[in-house]
Symmetry: C2
């Protein structure tokens, strides 16, 4: 069997759930092609979180601009899934022609706020549900987790190291991207460096040390090749490894330029203190300490709390898989069709009807509360949903470089009130109100739909 | 910014951590190019698991066969990362020329057992670490979670529905693949259907119902287009939705061919019983009940325990993100270089030195215990590690169709002892012994390495 994946995987119309196509064919047969509004939002804040950071929009817009179906795809749909010729003809010429509004990447977001709003003929808006959710769900979770790690590191450098444990190749790239978006210094993943222009970091692996006859020789060779490298000292015994770095410094004298030692196992806090003392005694105050090994925001906060002299953190697995909140109940829901508000009433899953806007108020440079209102309402506060795509083409607001998005995200983080930055869930959530207009809309639509 | 991803993403040499390339350049400069053996294994069973199911090998072998570097990649490495010309020339002609041994996809595996063993010049074997771990980690976790879901469903159909919440596009595809591997009936993700030949399933979304003037009309339209469809009944009120399906049955008479109703919210167990009773009273005994809504192996077991009359399950988010075990401490470690066994001694992270084999014993058709021994040892039991690639070319053992792998995986599951199939962690783990030969090897290598 070939595991070959198609070249155009990332823009394939087939990255969709079967029912989207089945409904599309039904809409076509029923001549239902009026404008729909779908909104993507999440219902509840995951345990332990006080805010999430919106991300994933750039990939969504890229997908919408380039979304295509190949002849090969059409053949599959015809032969294996028996779609009708008229539907396949419609699909062959498929282009996304709608508008997209969105909250910019890097903005703090809260339950019930539409992160993305798609305004398009119903078939177009429906078809892209799977991809939009897949990307915004992952990237928002990753950016949110990374933001917490950055907060915990309190100004120390954070490098994303998780490619090997992220869930697949796409997640590895997107976790690197989202970590950088919210302030990580860079990533170890070379492909992410190339695609996104993210700074790359790398040290050495235990295998390099092991492949050499002895650890001191491995250090000497690596430092000769890469004078300003970071040396991994825990392959056999951490403190003896540190001693070998010090010995190398004595041997090389002024030529010794090693930047840091890396601790990757054991009691990192205690080892960092012992390592710092040894380096300082040897006159190597400029050699930094880089720590990795099952780190996350909690462990980093604990290390800093205990005054561990660590200069930079490599954060891998727990960030890459978003260990404590790997999913949220994010959904993409129809809120308007043919100019009329729509909603469903399923138990516990109510979504407010009609097209919305989010209004955010600030005081003294900090955000203090949001209101979710009807799109056409005029309420106080900054409008969070911006038009990023019109008639299938990106507008400047939807064409933001990663560097610009990163500056914006870091600035947005500074606008969060102090109590939201705690790693623990605050007792009172950030206030998100429903406008009177939207409440009235809910009542009136519910009245219409209430069965019996 | 463009989120464009390169066409050859899945076979890019750059899907690697920077240090792999840095070490590669150092090995080249040091003229270290002897044969290395790396082994991929996991150290501990995740909480709540009694076995894992090996998966991901097919993508690893595909990668190794097709791994290429483009001129564009080389330019990036030269201009941005300042690799040397001699190293880049070596990389330009990079082909994987080594051997791979592996435990076949679908085989139950336990801590300390090498799932993949790579025998190649050290640079080649080192470079692929990131991709191999990325794929085998995700796919083994996904196959293992899906196997538990299938066990819990006790013969009822399970359909994988998680693409929208899987971590990225690659994970969505791989979760669909691994679920099918261990016995799921199919997936909702069209691209997975096309790439892997997996049966596709789909019903309808709430938005389809909402876009219509009334639910009964939506049901009638959809059933006209797709007579044997599954109708989603919980958009407004589940039991009233069921009543509308019954009414449609009365209207259509013999032309009524609807296959199932789908419950997607509320108390699924209670609603399934009420729905079954209503359908049966209406003479619709043949209409099945399909359940979704935050299902996993625990919830499915609970539903079946309570005798909920559910015929098939759609399992999404919790499977797709492998909610209760999103990562394991899987590592790819050097165990031999230039014919000599290697190991590291880092605290809590000991890996036995030297090339290994796994010997598995069975009694009465059930597996009863494994021994991890030296590769050349002759011990009792079936040899789990098989040669799947030789000199960079797949052998028949490494070229297994997904259908064949699925039959094998389902058969392997039947060979698990009953106590391992419990959803709770058993008090005694499955026995994995270390051979006397391997123990002696550990002692002798440790003696050599023990510092001081």
């Amino acid at each position: 069997m070939s595991g070959n994946l198609p070249d155009d995987l990332f823009r394939s119309v087939l990255f969709t759930d079967l029912y989207e196509l089945a409904m599309g064919q039904a809409y076509l047969a029923e001549q239902m092609d009026q404008q729909a509004v779908f909104e993507l939002s999440f219902r509840r804040m995951p345990a332990g979180r006080n805010y999430l950071v919106a991300a994933g929009l750039d990939d969504v817009l890229d997908y919408l601009e380039h979304l295509r179906v190949t002849e090969n795809d059409l053949a599959y749909l015809r032969e294996k899934l028996h779609f009708t010729d008229s539907f396949l003809e419609r699909l062959r010429h498929f282009r996304f022609t709608g508008d997209v509004l969105a909250i910019p990447e890097g903005t703090p977001v809260f339950p019930g706020e539409p992160l993305v709003q798609v305004v398009a003929p119903i078939f177009e808006a429906q078809l892209l549900e799977t991809f939009v959710l897949n990307q915004v769900h992952l990237q928002t979770l990753a950016a949110s987790k990374a933001a917490r790690v950055i907060t915990a590191a309190a100004g120390r450098q954070v490098i994303e190291f998780g490619a090997r444990r992220a869930h697949g190749t796409d997640a590895a790239l997107k976790v690197a991207r989202c970590s950088y978006l919210v302030g990580a210094a860079g990533t170890s993943l070379v492909l992410a460096g190339k695609i996104y222009g993210i700074p790359l970091f790398g040290t050495m692996a235990h295998s390099y040390i092991q492949a050499h006859k002895d650890e001191a020789g491995a250090f000497a060779e690596f430092a000769r090749m890469y004078p300003q490298t970071t040396l991994l000292v825990d392959t056999y015994d951490t403190l003896q490894g540190v001693q070998k770095v010090i010995d190398l410094g004595r041997t090389l004298g002024n030529a010794f330029r090693v930047h840091a030692v890396r601790l990757d196992s054991g009691d990192i806090g205690a080892l960092a203190k012992q390592t710092r003392a040894m380096l300082d005694r040897a006159g190597l105050q400029h050699v930094q300490i880089f720590a990795s090994s099952e780190l996350d925001e909690y462990e980093i906060a604990r290390l800093i709390q205990s005054a561990a002299p660590i200069d930079a953190f490599g954060v891998g697995t727990r960030l890459a898989v978003i260990q404590d909140a790997p999913h949220i109940d994010m959904a993409y829901k129809l809120v308007e069709y043919a100019g009329e508000p729509r909603m469903k009433l399923s138990a516990d899953k109510i979504v407010y009807p009609g097209r919305k806007q989010v209004f955010r108020k600030s005081e003294n440079g900090r955000i203090v509360g949001d209101t979710v209102g009807r799109y056409e309402e005029k309420l106080e506060g900054e409008l969070l949903l911006q038009v990023v795509m019109r008639a299938g083409k990106r507008l400047p607001a939807g064409n933001v470089s990663l560097e610009d998005a990163r500056r914006y995200a870091i600035d947005q983080n500074k606008r969060l009130p102090e109590w939201l930055l705690s790693l623990d869930q605050s007792e009172t959530p950030y206030p998100v109100a429903i406008s009177e207009g939207l409440s009235l809309e809910l009542d009136s639509v519910r009245q219409l739909l209430r069965p019996g």
